[in-house]
């Protein structure tokens, strides 16, 4: 076989393979996308519900601390309004802001409870990992909600481009979770987005705060997250939504919190924009109360019920 016929054979076969791959990729990607939105429980379901179906008056947003701390049913009983907890593990203000932007196009809640941590807008050492996590969690929604693209791409990995090349890619690592959360009873279950934790904190396992004496550390303010927080507040204001910012309880007292750059800047922002801000990090009801915590950063169901009642009072007072 001469050289040119070898080239031709190679490129012909490459084209055949690319065509096969393209067809398989689009077919499997299509099936995965359809199945993704059918999940009835699990980590992603909260996000799916928020974007697709949420019509509640009160929306709670935040990280795992939000999803474990705000019992939506208690809030409903206490305030007489409907509520949904949109908190999701390891998510931060960039996720919250992007999800809310999509939600507001379909539904405008009356109240937004923003559960934040004192270091919410810190430029911590693992900021790239945090951005990557946000990107990974938003990616499956990209085709239906392309406005999430800029946040997804912020992790600097050409995620949107990769999603254009492959339709399977956004659902990477998801197939087993999709099957589990659609066809089995296994996986995380929530009650209106609230995921209760049962059992008490074992003090022998939590002798010292995992965050150390200097928590939150003196990281600089991360401009991008500061802008996202400002954007979240502005969009809520433009849509007539009342925002309440809350630092929910911690098991250990936080040291040096008042001098923390992120915390100070957020307090300035909330004050300047007349946003009610409640900090429970030093609340004596919760501090080192083993019966109210599951671990040092998450309340158990009893703690969450008590806390949700308190939050309901603030909601009523601020309306």
């Amino acid at each position: 076989m001469n050289n040119s016929s070898q080239y031709i054979k190679f490129f012909r076969n490459i084209i055949i393979l690319v065509v096969i791959l393209f067809v398989c990729d689009r077919l499997i990607g299509y099936v995965l996308e359809k199945q993704y939105y059918k999940q009835t429980h699990g980590d992603a379901q909260t996000g799916i519900y928020l974007l697709e179906d949420a019509k509640e008056d009160i929306i709670i947003m935040g990280s795992s601390r939000a999803s474990h701390h705000y019992n939506a049913e208690v809030l409903e009983q206490e305030t007489g309004m409907t509520a949904f907890n949109g908190g999701r593990d390891e998510m931060v203000i960039s996720y919250i802001s992007s999800m809310l932007d999509v939600l507001y196009q379909r539904h405008k809640p009356k109240v937004l409870i923003l559960d934040i941590t004192p270091h919410e807008i810190s430029e911590s050492h693992d900021i790239a990992v945090i951005n990557q996590r946000v990107s990974t969690n938003l990616l499956p929604f990209l085709y239906k909600y392309p406005q999430l693209g800029p946040t997804i791409d912020y992790s600097d990995n050409n995620e949107v481009l990769k999603s254009k090349i492959s339709h399977i890619y956004p659902y990477n690592s998801q197939p087993a979770a999709i099957l589990q959360n659609t066809y089995t009873n296994l996986g995380h279950k929530t009650i209106k987005g609230y995921e209760p934790l049962y059992g008490n904190l074992d003090p022998t396992n939590y002798k010292v705060s995992v965050f150390g004496a200097g928590y939150p550390q003196q990281y600089p303010v991360y401009k991008r997250y500061e802008d996202k927080l400002l954007e979240t507040l502005q969009t809520a204001k433009d849509n007539g939504i009342k925002v309440i910012a809350i630092v929910s309880p911690f098991y250990f007292p936080l040291k040096n919190v008042d001098t923390n750059n992120s915390y100070k800047r957020m307090k300035e922002i909330f004050t300047s924009q007349n946003i009610p801000f409640y900090d429970f990090s030093a609340d004596s009801t919760y501090l080192q109360n083993t019966f109210l915590f599951r671990d040092d950063v998450h309340l158990n169901d009893s703690g969450a019920t008590l806390f949700s009642k308190q939050v309901s009072t603030f909601v009523k007072n601020n309306l």
Partner: protein, 474 residues
Amino acid sequence: MLFNSLHFVIYFIITTIIYFILPHRFRWFFLLAISCYFYMVFVPVYILILGFTIVVDYFAGIWIERNQRQKKLLLALSIVVNVGCLAFFKYFNFLNENLSMLLGTMDVQNPIPALTILLPIGLSFHTFQAMSYTIEVYRGNQKAEKHFGIYALYVMFYPQLVAGPIERPQNVIHQFYQKVYFNYERVVEGCKLILWGLFKKVVIADRLAIYVDAIYNNPEHHSGVSSIVATIFFTFQIYCDFSGYSTIAIGTAKVLGIELMENFRRPYLATSIREFWSRWHISLSTWFRDYLYIPLGGSKVTVPKHIRNLLIVFLISGLWHGANWTFIIWGALHAIYQTTELVINKYILKKDKEKKPRSFLRSIPNYILTFTLVSFAWIFFRANTVDQAMTIVENIITLKPGALFIGFSAGFAYSIILIIFLMLTEFNYEYLNNKFSLIYKSSPVLRYAGYTLLIIIILLIGVFNGGQFIYFQF
């Protein structure tokens, strides 16, 4: 540039097309230029260090050949420069820290400050490959390369630049002079290797890494069972990570018409530690064999000297991997294993040469024992500190109570399935002549099904933010 990045895919496609379009006389220059770019994507300035040693070794080779009387001195000088560079960047802080600890026991403060420098990526590989050149010229097995560009390409050739295989000049240099034609079978074979290497890295190694990191970064919070599972997972992670890199490197070079040496031969199917080392990181183990073990006398000496030789080789091999006591212990463990095996074979079993047991079934206890010993040693290789390694060892030996950590349950399930799949693949290659490998079937339908399946699995469950290859740090 990482092999498992979109950047590399684009780079590889574009450079390969240009490579085949270019006339032969320009190809060496093009390969050298793109290899420099490949390296400079990491930390550009470090190419100067490589450049410095390239110049030294290039002239050392020529002078060694010309000055037969002084060739020993010239070789020594070249080795001092190469090892000196490596020692400065890789071992300075390690030695300094240990000196501080030693002086600290005598209440004396160490006046030498620590250096705030990063280890140039792949320096250990580069140094060993460069040294193999001057040693081979010294031994007369390789003519000194007069073409500076070709010599530079020998040490800079991008597929094996940062993590091997550590080549020998006799295997590679002459290939850069040969005119390479586009050969369909060779290019397809290269692409298959790239695909399989990528699968091992992205799908298996990086998937297992998630669980391993969770346990090894906080061993004190985990049970004995979790520590055992994490150690077994790491045994497969390190294999798939490193052999994945080597497979991609060999495949990439093959596409360009350059044959690199085999670096892994299904090491977990070894029935003894000695056999393991003939299957694991072959380019490094043969480097140590040719340039250290045999010059020390190898096995053709008295038993005590043979044991000494093994200890020296494995301790240096451990140190080569990293400036940390964990690596030295890892090397020492392998030296102890080999020594024990030697003594048992010589004095108890009374056999001079190890014979592989005939049947697979009869070999099962040997497989398990070898695998267990190798896995145990990997604990020290993976742990960040000796204390952390000892915590893992304690967890395992005492079978520390506690539930098995699962983490992301689907990820855990993928990990188990992937390990089984890997071992079946290895078994198929070793014992069944690749009979069940779809991508090597003669039927095009089955072959294409195999390619498609591999790519779809990579897209479905590959870990795309798994980061760089473990061996890059060496």
